[in-house]
């Protein structure tokens, strides 16, 4: 018996030794050479935490592609010389946290981009804030994230900015009085979208006739839709991700509901048209990203992205692309690879022209930007007037 105890001590001690030995190697290697000299371009390492393996890997891939595309251009320009250290979080909070520790404990890393999911951000951001390293989310839209601390930023449009913009235009266009809300209640993203929708609808004095819920992966929405049909709302607010959202629209149109739909950020994907076909007509979304915008920067980005990765960029790639430009600008203004100097110059970014539009931070580190409101018409996203 005693032997077993001894052995368990042994196992744990051995483990600790391995860990200690392993970290000795990492932290020893140079840390002095990162400070850019005053005459040449400022060089710095930036850590990236991304969702690269697992069910949501497509998001992480688009985001990393966006970073890499921007990185080439930024380094070519020569004002700054950035190196990205990309780490995978597999969409799990524990891994996001451990890997953020890895990045933060490397003194050469000046700031962090990512992680991909809001749940991961909720875990990583307080840690980054305590350690005094800037962190910028490119896809974290849930409420309250930049408010976590002084070092926490984002450049993805939160629902609280996107939904009011879309709703205002829709109310004006269709003379909306009554709305029905439909949302997925088992997902952080759609739940948070719903909270915003409800609040905005109440603020605008719209009558909410019903609130219906559904779950991830559900395939039959007839019960909810029948109820909504009877109540005859002027507009249906749907906080759904595109895969469920597209199915909902398909079933609604089949049932004879021709009311327009208004969706959140997660509903905004070309895949909706692919899945729902004609039924997708009448979906209104507010988005920072519109690939058909008549702007030379946007078109150049789309072309380059297609040539390099063989597919059209989505909003995640576009937001990541802009985020790296924001970091490059902040680094240039800071003039040195110092974490605190970087944070201060990042917070001062104002009116930076990107492919999403003109970008500024507010006092919390949240986004100030005008989203574009789009509607699907004739099987295509078009600007909603």
């Amino acid at each position: 018996m005693r032997r077993v105890i001894k052995k368990s001590y042994l196992v744990i001690t051995a483990l600790m030794l391995v860990l200690l030995a392993a970290c000795g190697e990492g932290s020893g290697s140079g840390s002095a050479d990162s400070k850019g000299s005053s005459d040449g371009p400022v060089s710095a390492k930036i850590g990236v935490i991304s969702y690269l393996t697992g069910p949501g890997a497509a998001y992480g891939e688009a985001i990393t592609n966006g970073f890499n595309l921007a990185l080439e251009e930024v380094n070519e320009k020569g004002d700054v010389n950035i190196e990205l250290v990309v780490e995978d979080s597999a969409g799990k909070q524990e891994q996001a946290l451990t890997v953020s520790q890895k990045l933060m404990s490397d003194d050469e890393i000046v700031a962090i981009l990512g992680p991909t999911l809001s749940t991961e951000m909720n875990v990583v951001a307080p840690e980054a804030d305590i350690n005094g390293i800037s962190i910028l989310g490119t896809s974290t839209t849930a409420a309250g994230i930049p408010q976590i601390g002084d070092y926490v930023f984002r450049n993805s449009i939160p629902e609280s900015l996107a939904i009011p913009a879309a709703l205002e235009k829709a109310v004006a266009a269709y003379d909306v009085k009554k709305v029905a809300i439909l949302y997925g209640n088992d997902d952080l993203f759609t739940q948070s979208g719903f909270d915003t929708m409800k609040k905005v609808a109440e603020d605008m004095n719209l009558e909410i006739v019903t609130i219906e819920t559904f779950q991830k992966g559900q395939s039959d929405y007839n019960a909810q839709l029948t109820k909504i049909k009877d109540l005859q709302p002027d507009l249906i607010l749907a906080s759904a991700l595109y895969n469920e959202g597209a199915v909902i629209m398909g079933q609604a149109r089949k049932m004879g509901i021709d009311t327009p739909f208004l969706g959140g950020n997660g509903f905004n994907s070309p895949k909706v048209i692919e899945i729902a076909g004609e039924a997708a007509d009448g979906l209104i979304v507010a988005t920072p990203w519109f690939a058909e915008k008549e702007n030379s920067k946007v078109q150049a980005f789309v072309e380059k992205y297609k040539a390099k990765y063989g597919m059209a960029p989505d909003q995640f790639a576009a937001q990541a692309y802009d985020a790296l430009y924001i970091y490059a600008e902040a680094l240039k203004n800071a003039g040195e690879a110092d974490r605190d100097a970087f944070r201060d110059s990042l917070a001062e970014i104002k009116g930076l022209e990107g492919i999403l539009g003109e970008f500024s931070f507010d006092k919390d580190g949240d986004v100030i930007m005008d989203p574009t409101v789009l509607i699907i018409k004739d099987g295509k996203f078009q600007i909603f007037e």
Binding site: M1, K7, I12, L15, L19, V99, V123, N185, D186, Q191
Partner: protein, 326 residues
């Protein structure tokens, strides 16, 4: 010197290893009486939410929250265990898996308390609270040459290691006791054990409840190490992951669970250099493992082999082996 060696990244990984070991032991205990329970994610969630809510809303000390989390999980374990343990094998597995999902759905829908799928943030962090405590009594980590976050994670890790040593000690003792023998007898043959006069319902509920307490305890620790929890953390993926820890390492002995949790938590981190492919390797290792060593890496015969080799190395037997070889 000390400050350079203690990289928070390694401390953090080690802390998760410790939590995963507790989870692996929780399923090992139920397996040791022959019950396959997949409810550990549910119990973990109960422990995590109980402790988080108590410490957020009533400002109880973390330690009270964690103990309360373990106790509540244990009570629910007993309540669920009494009816559920009439089932056996896969039926029990399905029922407990169902229980775990019910718990998760409750967390999702009981929005007024759990904030639904938004999750609970702002849970007091074990290390940060301890740091505040140490600073209050006039101790600064600078005095021993440590940065704040190094100190925080070192403390958390030390506490977790201590907890693990106590738990492993307790359960190896229990295995050698009357209770452990009873568990083993029930695992071998329930009917025979009953015929020998064992109160099998009592022992089965006991092992199930012990598993629940441990899972709840680990869940509460998890909540105070991450400082944020959401229902998605306690979905069935988690239950499967915990089961794999124990089965991979070897479900017959407690060291198997310890090894499985350690190895499988380290593996994805160690394989970071091959980025996207790391989970492919993780999967491949599991498949190979089940094909060639279904009983798990460590079982009784491996332990015996170790014991024998360690003994002969101590050199108590002079010359006898040479004679044999000649």
């Amino acid at each position: 010197m000390l400050g350079e060696i203690l990289n928070p990244y390694y401390l953090q990984v080690a802390a998760f290893i410790m939590i995963n070991i507790i989870l692996a032991i929780s399923i090992y205990i139920t397996l040791s009486s022959g019950q396959l329970s997949l409810g550990s994610a549910g119990f973990m969630g109960i422990g995590a939410y109980t402790s988080a809510l108590l410490t957020i809303h009533f400002e109880l000390p973390i330690i009270v929250g964690i103990l309360a989390g373990a106790v509540v999980a244990g009570i629910i374990g007993i309540l669920i265990g009494i009816p559920a343990l009439r089932l056996q094998g896969v039926y029990l597995a399905i029922a407990t898996l169902g229980f775990g999902e019910v718990v998760r759905i409750i967390f999702v829908n009981w929005e007024s308390v759990t904030r639904g799928s938004i999750g609970l943030s702002g849970i007091p962090h074990m290390g940060r609270e301890l740091l505040r405590f140490f600073k209050d009594i006039g101790f600064d980590p600078d005095m021993i040459g440590l940065k704040n976050n190094q100190f925080i994670y070192l403390l958390v890790l030390l506490i977790l290691v201590l907890i693990n040593i106590i738990l492993i000690w307790f359960f190896t003792r229990q295995n050698k006791s009357r209770i452990g023998r009873a568990f083993a007898a029930i695992k071998m043959d329930e009917k025979a054990a009953e015929a020998m006069g064992l109160n099998i319902t009592y022992y089965k509920v006991l092992s199930f409840a012990q598993g629940a307490v441990l899972a709840g305890f680990a869940g509460a620790l998890y909540a105070h190490v991450l400082a944020y929890i959401s229902p998605a953390d306690f979905a069935y993926h988690r239950a499967i992951e915990i089961l794999i820890f124990s089965v991979f390492g070897g479900s017959e002995v407690i060291l198997g669970a310890v090894f499985g949790a350690t190895f499988l938590t380290l593996l994805p981190e160690a394989l970071r250099f091959i980025s996207e492919y790391r989970y492919m390797i993780y999967g491949a290792i599991l498949v190979l493992m089940m094909a060639f060593r279904p009983q798990g890496i460590i079982d009784a015969s491996v332990l015996n082999w170790f014991k024998k080799n360690l003994k002969s190395k101590r050199g108590t037997n002079h010359g006898t082996r040479i004679n044999k070889n000649n």
